[in-house]
């Protein structure tokens, strides 16, 4: 049991990271499609969206670190960072490695958002949708527990929700006239609020 502790940490960390990533993507789509309960403040939603993404990154680190520490599977640093470098199912692992790089790109550009042009940040942030697909394929192909009923059901439901909200988002973009300038958003960063502001 204790000899396989890191193996269980790797499996549990991967599942939790996928769940948090899914929640963050869904939350972001709900925000952007304006499909949200009316009483929820945008700043609250934005803050939780950012936190979900950050937590998904943390648990992805737990997933990778546990795989490195585990002696049950023999993965070195190069095998978890370089696609197709692993001896065990290199194609299945490669999906996760590419997803890791996309996740890091999305997270780092979000942290540095105020220093980036909004257009560039937005284009990079759209990569969250392929990121969800990459992570799900990695979970489905390489996950030890992916073929149980509950994970399969979760993947089906979340993927259906992501696809549905993406269709809503794209159709809303097409309805919006391209020539109409967007009104400037009041706060650049909704997390910046005056001290002592009433809630």
């Amino acid at each position: 049991m204790s000899s396989q502790l890191w193996w269980y940490c790797a499996r549990a960390g991967g599942i939790v990271a996928w769940g948090l990533l899914s929640a963050s993507v869904l939350w972001g789509l709900v925000m952007s499609t304006k499909v949200k309960p009316p009483k929820i403040r945008p700043a609250w939603m934005f803050d939780l969206h950012r936190f979900l993404g950050g937590l998904a990154t943390v648990f992805t680190g737990v997933h990778i670190g546990s795989i490195l520490l585990d002696s049950y599977t023999h993965f070195g640093l190069a095998e978890v960072l370089v696609p197709f470098a692993s001896a065990w199912h290199p194609d299945r692992v490669a999906w996760g490695i590419v997803a890791l790089y996309v996740l890091l790109t999305v997270e780092l550009t979000s942290l540095a958002r105020r220093y980036l042009p909004n257009k560039i940040w937005r284009r990079i942030h759209v990569a969250s949708l392929p990121l969800y697909g990459l992570a799900t394929i990695h979970f489905l192909l390489a996950g030890t527990d992916a073929h149980d009923t509950l994970p399969l059901l979760m993947m089906f439901v979340v993927t259906a929700a992501v696809v549905g909200l993406t269709i809503v988002r794209i159709s809303a973009l097409r309805k919006r006239p391209m020539s109409t300038p967007r009104p400037p958003t009041t706060p650049i960063d909704p997390l910046l609020e005056p001290v002592g502001a009433s809630r």
């Binding site: 549990a12 599942i15 403040r41 803050d47 648990f59 910046l192 609020e193 005056p194």
Partner: protein
């Protein structure tokens, strides 16, 4: 207003952040423990079936294969294991190979 020194970063969803973090940690620990228990139960169940299949490894069939390999020279199995192919020391004497001599057709008889 944005450059006012009285501004500082706050987290509007601080309570939700805490709940999410606690829930994620609990899910991580619960999943890890659940997977470990599930794996141990599976190992315990499969351990009872291993001896039944392990005792059926056909050691007794090896001499028969070796004998047939000696008798029929052309149909000797090439995929046999080393334990089967190696004859025991008592039978290490070179057996006369029963290869039939080619019938030479002579013109006389």
């Amino acid at each position: 207003m944005m450059n006012s020194p009285t501004l500082r970063r706050r987290h509007p969803a601080r309570g939700a952040r805490q709940n999410t973090a606690v829930f994620s940690a609990a899910a991580f620990i619960g999943l890890g423990a659940g997977l470990a228990v599930q794996n141990n139960v599976g190992t315990a169940n499969s351990a009872t079936t291993v001896p039944d299949t392990a005792t059926t490894v056909p050691i007794t069939t090896a001499p028969a294969v070796a004998a047939s390999a000696q008798e029929s020279d052309d149909s000797a199995p090439t995929t046999s294991t080393p334990t089967v192919a190696t004859p025991p020391p008592a039978q290490a004497q070179p057996a006369p190979r029963a290869r039939p001599a080619p019938q030479a057709k002579t013109g006389g008889s």
